[in-house]
């Protein structure tokens, strides 16, 4: 078709009147407008505010700021926070320690280096592990496939910080943990480098983030037409050659994506790093940021950290999109032959089965077992014989506590627990309901506006929270609230807003895949029959979107209910603690048993909700 632009006809009064009527008279346009405005307010403005706040002197930071930038007053604009971090004197080494003696090293380079180390090792171990397991379960004839496939993603549903608590229950050393862990209790000395610090953090994260590469690679493998591999066989290629030159190149894009996701997520994780690193002063970017944010004086420096983390995470994700973008979609799904013939493993069948079994035991049964058992112990680490077991952590009351170190009643007699339970339920239900409803609207706008400016704008704006690690994202809102709306600090409202907005990208993706299934023609048919916008939404879209809406709702429900990283820095008021944060807090105190018990409740809750979501076509792999 010829390409020549249409020339706009001259504007007349009548044309203008009709045009305005066309825009205003269509509720869809109004909704698009409101959506854009809302996304701008909740995503763009907070982000800009945080950047601005790194240049602002507050009452709390004035004293600190004057040390760097003499004479500034609260309310002034100043680059003191940047100077505090990057000023030239920070690069001067004290003593003869070289770079290690500089301020910039302790403040920034060391946590950055730690984060990158953790990101690197977690990725190097968990991506090949997940990919191998995906291949085994999708393409080979490994025995017990049904059971293994059912269990393989359960570890991912156990929140990573719960795994960290479980790790501590085994490896805790009395020097830092107060109590014995299981091993020290048995008289086996546990070296500190194993109990805390990078190795512990990396291993715990591997048991969590294998799921990314597992989910992505198994999705890619499932979409490969087995005829492609059979063709290789006909050409005379061996099993190994087929794997190397046909299968692997086809799943390579998904492996790359998983790699990037894993790096970006493991760099941004707070809970695990805080639990296993803070005790020995092993800081990563996320925990160092929290350290700066905790003090009014240095909050602005924390914001700079948040920006750095966002840049780091966003950078990797954007690089991924540039790299993979064009290669992402091989059309590997054919009309026929999608039923794959399985590859016989032969003699390596049993070693592979053992590998998978050991993994599931390590990642699922052991953490659960140790959490459950410790929750029954009177003195942690003192073994599992009957006189050290009680139900105190669950139902005991403080006056007849069997261990004098106990400072809390058992869970079901604990006011804090019930308050947090209520907060969690309230937050999850409200949060996921709002998220899911907005998600459907976003999905509607992006699918119906595909290729139009507003569809693209909504899609781009919604993508922003996805680029940010949870802690960094929370920092944005913390900065906005503490500088402009102090009444919001520590409030339930703020926690709710953050939970909702952070889940927008996922909700909108689930919404648009839902809306994509509702053909535009179904709506057009209703338009022809005289149905207006709202009538169409009510009679056609909502009834058809119900199933997808419910599974989207349940999945964000799970995600919000178990969230710790996102809300940790917002928990400044114990009235609003959620279960995850309460558990996290208790674990720092003398009551790991109660923390464990809360973990178990959360895990049970997640598994049950997930089962329900499964019924409605939801799947944990969609909530990444």
């Amino acid at each position: 078709m010829a390409k020549n632009r249409w020339k706009r006809p001259p504007m007349t009064k009548e044309r203008l009147k009709n045009q305005i009527q066309n825009v205003i008279g269509n509720p869809f346009n109004v909704i698009v407008l409101i959506t854009l405005l809302m996304l701008f307010i909740f995503i763009v403005i907070p982000l800009l505010t945080m950047v601005l706040n790194t240049f602002t002197v507050t009452r709390g930071s004035a004293e600190m700021a004057r040390r760097v930038d003499p004479g500034v007053m609260p309310g002034d604009y100043s680059i003191w926070a940047w100077k505090f971090l990057f000023g030239s004197e920070n690069f001067v080494s004290t003593g003869n320690m070289g770079l290690r003696g500089t301020q910039i090293y302790t403040n920034l380079l060391e946590p950055l280096f730690h984060s990158l180390t953790i990101g690197f090792f977690v990725t190097v171990i968990s991506v090949p592990l997940g990919a191998l397991m995906a291949w085994l379960l999708v393409r080979t004839d490994i025995p017990c496939k049904g059971l293994l496939s059912a269990l393989i993603l359960v570890p991912y549903m156990i929140p990573s910080w719960c795994k960290a608590l479980s790790w501590l229950s085994v490896f805790r050393t009395p020097k830092y943990g107060g109590y014995y862990g299981l091993l020290t209790g048995l008289g086996i000395p546990v070296p500190e480098w194993l109990a805390y610090g990078p190795i512990a953090i990396i291993l715990v994260m591997v048991l969590h983030y294998y799921a990314f590469s597992f989910i992505m690679v198994s999705g890619a493998l499932r979409s490969i037409n087995s005829e492609l591999e059979e063709m290789g066989e006909i050409q005379g290629a061996s099993k190994a050659q087929i794997l190397k030159s046909i299968t692997l190149p086809l799943v390579l894009p998904s492996i790359l994506s998983a790699t990037i996701m894993t790096i970006s997520k493991s760099i941004g994780t707070y809970g695990v790093a805080a639990r296993l690193g803070n005790t020995i002063q092993y800081f990563v970017m996320a925990t160092k940021m929290k350290y700066f944010l905790e003090s009014q004086q240095t909050a602005a420096v924390g914001y700079i950290f948040s920006m750095l983390m966002i840049a780091l995470a966003a950078g990797t994700i954007l690089i991924n999109q540039k790299l993979i973008g064009t290669r992402k979609s091989y059309a590997t799904i054919g009309g026929k032959g999608t039923r794959s013939n399985l590859i016989p493993l032969g003699s390596s069948k049993w070693p592979m089965l053992i590998l998978l079994t050991v993994f599931i035991i390590l990642a699922m049964f052991m953490p659960l077992f140790f959490l459950v058992m410790e929750s029954f112990q009177i003195v942690p680490g003192k073994g599992y014989h009957l006189d050290n077991l009680s139900l105190y952590a669950w139902i005991g009351s403080l006056e007849n506590a069997p261990n004098e170190q106990f400072n809390q009643s058992g869970l079901f007699r604990n006011v804090e627990f019930f308050r947090s339970l209520w907060n969690t339920v309230k937050l999850s239900i409200l949060g996921s309901l709002i998220t899911a409803v907005f998600g459907q609207f976003f999905g509607y706008i992006t699918t119906r506006g595909r290729g139009k400016w507003y569809g693209n704008a909504v899609e781009q704006l919604i993508f922003i929270p996805y680029l940010m690690p949870g802690v960094a994202f929370a920092a944005i809102y913390y900065s906005l609230a503490s500088n402009y709306i102090p009444s919001l600090v520590g409030s339930f409202m703020l926690i709710l807003i953050v939970s909702v907005v952070k889940h927008f990208p996922f909700a909108s993706r689930s919404g648009s895949s839902n809306m994509m299934q509702i053909s535009v023609e179904l709506e057009e048919a209703a338009t022809i029959n005289g149905a207006g916008f709202w009538r169409r939404i009510l009679s056609i879209v909502i009834p058809l979107a119900k199933g997808g809406f419910l599974s989207g709702f349940l999945l964000s429900f799970i995600s919000i209910a178990k969230e710790l990283d996102l809300i940790a820095i917002l928990m400044t008021n114990s009235e609003n603690y959620t279960l995850s944060f309460l558990s996290f807090n208790y674990s720092k105190e003398a009551m790991p048993q109660v923390a464990d018990a809360i973990c178990i409740i959360i895990i049970a809750f997640i598994l049950i909700t997930n089962r329900i979501a499964d019924r409605f076509g939801g799947n944990v792999s969609k909530s990444m």
Binding site: W6, N18, S519, E524, I528
Partner: protein
Amino acid sequence: MSKIVLSHIDKYYGENHVLRDINLTIEDGDFMTLLGPSGCGKTTTLRVVSGLEKPQKGTMTIDDRPAIDADKAFYEAPAKRGLNLVFQSYALWPHMTVFQNVAFGLKIKKMKKAEIEETVMRALKTMRIEEYRDRYPNELSGGQQQRVAIARAIASSPKLLLLDEPLSNLDARLRIDMRAELKRLHKETGTTIIYVTHDQVEALTMSTKIALFKEGEISQIDTPLGLYTNPIDLQAADFIGNPRINFINARGFYNGDTLTVKSEFGTYVYPHNTVKTDEEIPENEEFDCILGLRPEMVDIYTEDPHHKNTVEARIYANQPAGSETLVTLTVGSTEFLAIQVGLVEYDMNQKVYIVLHPGRMNVYNKKTGRLIKYAKAKHKAGIDD
């Protein structure tokens, strides 16, 4: 009562000019088919008429009432245009039963319950699917779904019924049944119908008029017979008719009065009244032209019939197909296809005599590709034509 007039409609998608200056009048009671290959703008035109697409230029009136005036940014809402549409995908609402699907539009019109019941059942009866009223669309076969879609469209007694390739998802046999069904529906209800298809057989068998589309433009509007007998250009000629028309290279000479065409078939002289004088024809010089010869216009004899338009030919190939036989013939270096009714057997290279009908052939100017001499339709042609 419904007369639709589209004038100077232009539609752009970004920089893509998909409809170019569409002018089309659909008289009341017409069965107007928009015909053309995919991507030629016929569905877009239908959607412009329905109100689902807004053109950037042009006007449309329904019974002299404005429905589109692009310069004034005026677009009447689809529901107010008194029309209904059957989608290619049927677009049945999967969460509603057959009855609810058909009743939806009537409910919106706030019709009374008893009246809805009666109207819906009438539509279902017309389409002979009343026993499926409580089924859901996914419990019906493709042909039944098709009938529901049509029932839904006719339930509101639209003045204008739009059909977008409604038969393309049906198998060959069902398609023939539904063609008859639609033709009957048109006769019974007297509704004006606009029908979009890329299938020329559908167009030729059902329509009262056909608008032939080419790359966003209408190249010809005519009755099925007119379109078949005198396609306006070589592309149209090639598109219409199955098996395809034969193009025979020839040399033409036009002296301002008669047109003389020389080919390996011989020399034909056409009188002035058959020449299409509004086309570009070189005068008083020889030029390349092309004869359009429909396969069914070739009569084959094994003995010399002593007809004045007899030519000797040889059999090149022979494809008996039951009710008809396709015969490929050569005359000199010219190869062409003929079709004969019934089973006929020929030997390869057998010598035969063919009788041609020069008056029923089209002549095209090779340079412009346009028709320059009208053919006579068979029933109007004389014995010698």
